[in-house]
Symmetry: C2
Subunit: 431 residues, 2 copies
């Protein structure tokens, strides 16, 4: 049985794009683990009618509706009362809950060194303790309680009401899925598998043609039972497939087609990111790393250090934005800089060697380029970047010619460095 | 007149949260500049019924519906045919368009060094050239044309169909807003103003109480005509207000209340981010900067270099993850490291001074901390970070005790460094 949930994300800051929604994606993955597919996500501002319409829209063809946000103490926090209205229930003051929230708020005030909560705070607390008749209350993690609200008529899905801050929503989710109404709503959901293949290099169009030719050629197992989505990100092509257990042979066939056609360009078929692949290689081979960055200015080192435990291989690095710093800190010959310019293969190699030698690491990785939008010349336009990985006796360098914004050029460069490292660590000869 | 647009974002990769939606937010801001408010955004997967229902849902109470994505050559790209169905129109093959796309695809093939497009490609092109009767075609930027499709009945809003890749959608938007059907749909929209105030320090609850007390005190102008949304991000509190021109006095009153209550904690009321404020201060005072980062490992330097032209003040920096590197590259006394440990006020000060002296800059900024989740001790738990800004004759340091994930600790630390810089550059005495 296909069980679907709809998600209502409230908040004008999300609707107007100032804040990315952190909850919808997180819930989508949690729900998948329960075998529940997310059908639609609706983002609405803090407006009564929009919120009510969104709930009704999703209730019409989903087994479960989840709302996030709008549970605070202020007047524009409307979710609880709108859910009550949509589910056809009156609200009442839950005095035990009111007392509980009052204690939490008093604790927060004390912690911050403020006086005890005043009348304004009491109004907010009373608002947060208004509960629809017949709803189950999920204990507050912050100050806001969550709710599970069944429809008064018995017709339609229950609405699970969760707070907006991810630090409150995530712990509360455990209570929500343990709730009897929620368990009944998602009962009978089939397992929903998801697998990810990552490729470096091929354009999305090439993948589309490969898949279509295989389909038209009438391959043993068609791909119709698979939900395949692809996306291109910083030069990596991510192929994510969702399928039910009985479509496993079709997925196996798809995976074989991808390996057969793309070969080495498939760098992960077990969900690992390039960061994880590189970290595993560095660890397995007992290598150490130093960075030397000009236009990325620390983003490469910062990304390598995103992973806990990265101090096992990352010893440090250099941000050498000014040419004098390339010379003073990495030993790049000033005559070389004058002759070929900072954005050149030669300087990239000298930087990578310099970083490796100065920090005494096995590997040095360097970046020098024109991130743009200004600073380019006809010979060296914005988007031209040289990267190099150096180890004793071997320097691998690449010239990148990237388009797009400054942020895009820098992000794409960081990913290119990780792939150059990966290639160097998975091949013995020249890559 | 309040004119509202609804946005349908298609793509399973967005629905399942693997890719953040870049188009909805961008469109929301573009629309605001036309005086058009975004009422709701619906995110759907690549499924026919979900897509159709989403369009009908938004058409019911918006003046304009915009769809993004689902215009590619593959079978799961359904948007154009579903729009035709929802708007009650048959589709026909636009042969001129087919020829135009064929030329574009042939050019791409040639550019990539492939052979000419084959039969599979021709099927995809023909699909992209199917146009609803009576629709206006927006010329392709990539391979996919956009559409403006009015309802056959004349009742309801036109649907603007745009491609998913932001690099295609954004240029095409200019053509879309010049289209007569779109102009008619948004005609009469009132100006919609938006202003942003940023605070460093106060919790969201304190802001809520200040606003409520002012409202209850019956301030000269009530805030009812303002749509105020607040969000907390890396320790900064952002207050964004949308209002129509006749509510300008109410906004002015709100701004006065914020300045009166929060004083110096308001660091921007003109929309500038802390990055921009710091960059402006560095430029105006002719200062130069070097970084020395342990747990943030380059993220601070990388963020400073996000801004074009940052080479005017950022000369470079150091990622000193290993203690030996703190000593060899920054001159931190190894006895000091042994005595007080790397995560300490003393080492933070020595790092900032070392960076400044090694690179000969006016300012040095340092970070040393336990990003977690591992590596903490009872005395120095995960989340303990020391930061320092050093200039000749003055070292300002702060001890941060942060909660949350590794990513959160590091991001919050970077923002804290920017604010410490800002404070140092806006005060003469101790801050």
């Amino acid at each position: 049985m296909v069980v679907r949930a709809g998600v209502v994300v409230t908040g004008t800051e999300v609707l107007t794009g100032r804040v990315p929604d952190a909850n919808g994606p997180w819930l989508a993955e949690r729900l998948r683990l329960l075998g529940v597919d997310v059908g639609r996500i609706v983002v609405v501002g803090d407006r009564r009618d929009d919120l009510a319409e969104a709930m009704r829209f999703l209730a019409a063809d989903h087994h479960l509706v989840i709302t996030t946000g709008g549970l605070g103490p202020t007047a524009d926090d409307l979710t609880a009362e709108v859910v009550a209205e949509v589910q056809g229930r009156a609200t009442h003051l839950d005095e035990v809950l009111e007392e509980q929230i009052t204690e939490i708020v008093a604790g927060l005030h004390a912690q911050r060194g403020w006086g005890p909560p005043g009348r304004a705070a009491a109004v907010g607390i009373r608002k947060q303790a208004l509960v629809p008749e017949g709803a189950h209350v999920l204990a507050p993690v912050g100050t806001a309680p969550g709710l599970v609200v069944p429809p008064a008529t018995g017709e339609g899905p229950p609405v699970v009401v969760l707070p907006g801050p991810p630090g409150e929503l995530r712990p509360m989710w455990e209570d929500a899925v343990a709730d009897g109404l929620v368990r009944a709503a998602v009962a009978g959901a089939d397992e929903l598998r998801q697998a990810t293949v990552r490729l470096w290099g091929p354009p999305e169009a090439e993948l589309a043609e490969v898949l279509r030719e295989h389909e038209e050629g009438g391959g043993a197992a068609g791909f119709a039972a698979l939900e395949v989505t692809t996306c291109l990100r910083d030069g990596e092509l991510e192929v994510v497939t969702r399928y039910s257990p009985d479509a496993q042979p079709a997925y196996d066939a798809l995976l074989a087609v991808l390996h057969a056609h793309f070969g080495d360009r498939v760098f992960s078929d077990d969900g690992r990111s390039v960061d994880e692949v590189v970290a595993d290689l560095l660890r397995a081979q007992g290598l150490t790393l130093a960075t030397a960055e000009s236009c990325t200015a620390g983003l490469l080192a910062g990304r390598i250090a995103d992973r806990p435990g990265s101090s096992a291989y990352l010893l440090g690095g250099f941000v050498t934005y000014a040419d004098e710093v390339k010379t003073s800190q990495l030993g790049v010959d000033p005559d070389l800089l004058a002759r070929v310019g900072a954005v050149s293969e030669e300087v990239a190699v000298a930087m990578a060697r310099g970083a490796r030698e100065r920090l005494g690491t096995t590997l040095g990785v360097s970046v020098t380029g024109v991130a743009g939008p200004d600073g380019g010349t006809p010979e060296k336009p914005a988007g031209l970047v040289h990267v190099c990985v150096s180890r004793e006796g071997r320097d691998e360098q690449r010239e990148l010619r990237l388009g797009g914004s400054r942020a895009h050029v820098r992000a794409r460069t960081v990913v290119s460095c990780l792939h150059l490292l990966r290639e160097l660590l998975t091949t013995d000869g020249p890559v």
